[in-house]
Symmetry: C2
Subunit: 275 residues, 2 copies
């Protein structure tokens, strides 16, 4: 992971100086890089060097970061804090934050397209997956469901649909990317894998929002304050802890059927379990 | 162009129903499709069927439309009117407008990647050009220069830099796209061609902002109201008309050296001249 962190820094520092570059460096810093970790673990499971996927992993971090910047805007969740420091529109300006999000999204596709390490056919497939699952078949659709969900109660199916799109979208990309690089074609397996990991990740986040301080999570508890539907709208804390445990059990079982050596990915899942 | 308009409509209507789809249809409607016209004219100049480039042209219209939606936001130019009707955040909501812009940008790369009409190598090159010239080497950089330009006066070099990035960026993409589909490699020629057309287009827009009513242009005169640097900050109306005429002369001359049959593109330039 140190090499990847260096790779991100080298790339960002290579950009010409301007406010957007500053805001990109500011917002890309401090991410936990969970989605890249998943990409690298599956790469190794396919017996491929993780560095072949660095450009795609960087692209995915750019998309994750843009989504946080736009999500924090006053017209969206209106969050002042992110990753333990003022959110982008607070540290810079709202117009710079909008443009920085736009640039991270625009650049992500360029990172994949210009990668020296993968062939054109794989790039095209990966870009299709990014566009689909970061868009109306994934993250943006989940965001839309989220911002237009005004009902006081939320049923489990609706909550799953929101989370599987909003959070699951980028995890599906993380699982599909190494699949395409490895020229594997078990699409359904990898989409479900991303969905399972995303579900656990979101349920954990909802739980942490409740039991951890804002200092520990590094962000505002806006979902609770905004009365957004979260796993805790339909479960007690104890029930949610049990649900997450069961989801981990199911995920470990699912990994037994993986079309790659899943030991590396299990290590990453263990980190997720321990957080 | 009727076929392309139908192609856009068929695609947008094929999306699953939701507010973002509605806002995409609303905002994509009524565009003059100048950039697609340029793509198609160069395609024909290369003796290629224009329909081979429909997905790329649709992608470019999506990027043009997203940039207008985000540019109109309260934190940016704060424009209430666009293409003769309420701008996206007025007709829908600000959060929906942000997400719709994000989706148009996200989807544009998917349109190119999933096109049935061009090969992977061309797609990758076109996606690189889109990411570069719609990003920090083009449109977004121009936007940044624009929103951070607070000086009362602006010198011609600075104004050229803003316009050549902000407006020129997407015209460079329009010129490079058919070049890549045709497997031509005179990159510098096509970048300069886009730059020249973009310069004329922006100077005309600045002129129209002054001499046409808001009803005719279909948008607010925010650049003038916001005291933004435009061609009219450094030239009188008469001088600007002369500048545009000279730019047309230079462009027609430049087209004589085109590495494709430039008759079709001249027809499009004539439309631009007559508007």
């Amino acid at each position: 992971m140190n090499n990847f962190e260096q790779y991100i820094n080298d790339y960002l520092n290579s950009l010409k100086d301007n406010h957007i570059k500053d805001a990109m460096i500011y917002t890309m810093e401090g991410g936990k890089r969970f989605r890249p970790r998943i990409i690298f673990a599956i790469m190794k499971g396919f017996n491929l060097d993780e560095s072949l996927s660095y450009d795609c992993a960087l692209a995915l971090e750019e998309i994750q970061t843009y989504s946080l910047i736009h999500d924090d805007l006053p017209a969206m969740d209106n969050d002042d804090m992110r990753r333990g420091k003022p959110s982008c529109h607070k540290a810079f300006r709202e117009d710079i934050a909008i443009l920085t999000g736009d640039q991270l999204l625009t650049d992500s596709f360029g990172r994949i397209a210009s990668s020296k390490y993968i062939d054109s056919d794989a790039k095209v497939k990966i870009i299709e997956a990014f566009s689909k699952y970061a868009g109306l078949d994934g993250m943006i659709y989940g965001q839309l469901l989220d911002v237009t969900n005004t009902s006081e109660t939320i049923d489990p199916d609706k909550l799953f649909e929101i989370q599987d799109n909003k959070t699951g979208g980028l995890f599906k990309i993380a699982c599909l990317t190494p699949m395409y690089i490895a020229k594997n074609d078990e699409y359904d397996y990898f989409v479900k894998l991303g969905s399972l990991i995303g579900q656990i990740f979101q349920n954990q986040d909802d739980l942490f929002d409740l039991i951890k301080s804002e200092e520990e999570t590094g962000k505002n508890k806006s979902d609770i304050q905004n009365n957004k539907g979260t796993a805790l709208s339909i479960s007690t804390k104890e029930e949610l802890i049990k649900i997450i445990d069961d989801e981990f059990d199911y995920l470990y079982e699912y990994l037994e059927k993986a079309p790659f050596d899943s030991g590396y990915l299990k290590d990453v899942i263990n980190i997720l379990k321990g957080r």
